[in-house]
Symmetry: C2
Subunit: 222 residues, 2 copies
Amino acid sequence: MAEDEVILLGFWASVFGIRPRIALEEKEVKYEYREELLVGNNKSPLLLQMNPIHKKIPVLIHNGKPICESLIEVEYIDEMWKDKALLLPSDPYERAQARFWADYIDKKLYDPAKKIHITKDDELEAAEKDLIEVLKMLEGVLGDKTYFGGDNFGYLDIALIGFYGWFPTYQTYFNFSIEAECPKIVGWGNRCMQRDSVAKTLPDQRKILELPKLIRQRLGIE
Amino acid sequence: MAEDEVILLGFWASVFGIRPRIALEEKEVKYEYREELLVGNNKSPLLLQMNPIHKKIPVLIHNGKPICESLIEVEYIDEMWKDKALLLPSDPYERAQARFWADYIDKKLYDPAKKIHITKDDELEAAEKDLIEVLKMLEGVLGDKTYFGGDNFGYLDIALIGFYGWFPTYQTYFNFSIEAECPKIVGWGNRCMQRDSVAKTLPDQRKILELPKLIRQRLGIE
């Protein structure tokens, strides 16, 4: 059988783009990572061809066939390469719970996490409050476990870890500390960083620290 | 082994509430359906207890444990009762495609389908245009197949069928016809209605026809 060709289209600072990357790393699947330039009209013809509906990264291309939407990609990777590192729990109820909280992250965490960087005044305050509230909720789900799934790093950890890279930006630019508000979530992030799959793919927090200033300059927000 | 206790909290006209109902019917699982009163502050204590995060129907309660979010419930039902009527395709790529389009329905179809009923003028026109565009896209996915999954009724059919009940409201109140715009989608809906699982659960289109007037009266939209 010919070797699988696996290509991943991503953007280095994306909280979504990191998800299929970590899943592929956990499975030890060989893949080619291609960075997309998302600023301006620079999306690659391959991205537009492979994800004509949303035109967004990440896109996983497996033997020429595209899979889109990060959480769907992680499930695909888990089902396609079954022989190691199962990412979703095997119990149907636990699977449903993992899917529920990953969906919660997309529906409730992403918006305030993004909004903080593109608003000011009252809206900024509301976004900060929402962000902390959602992270505290997730902290409750984590409890005292090593990972969200217990002893095994998996799907829900992968869904959340991209946000961890952005935590220092809140302290630097907005004067609140996720570590002070949600120490268990920061402890969990630190544990995740000890895994090769995360350490080698998650962007350097110092590099992310440069982004908020650029975003606010570009949008003309004081 | 004691018999499973399965309770489903729903609302008769909801495009989401119908999904786990049809899945349970397809699996021939015995369940108790409980109608929620969603108007005003009438949500049941059980709903608030079982879905404290979103406080929304549908909620599936299996032996006392809640599963929330309609598509997650359908996957749970498919995994829990494996012995008949597999709802998701078995091939990982086909599964990913089914999940992608179901997610597309939630992200792109629900908003305009709802907006039509609560806006007017330019916003109404834009919502009509979006609705038809999204349905045409789904018509392309359906092609000439019997169901979205081919010969087998399944996950993606279940994700979309709730919207079919609302199709006549567009002709009656907004003067455009889904049948004229997307005849294959209407043909598909008619085929779905020939299944017991759909026919016995999907609300009577005449009953839904009364709703848009009530909604617009309540919101004070002319």
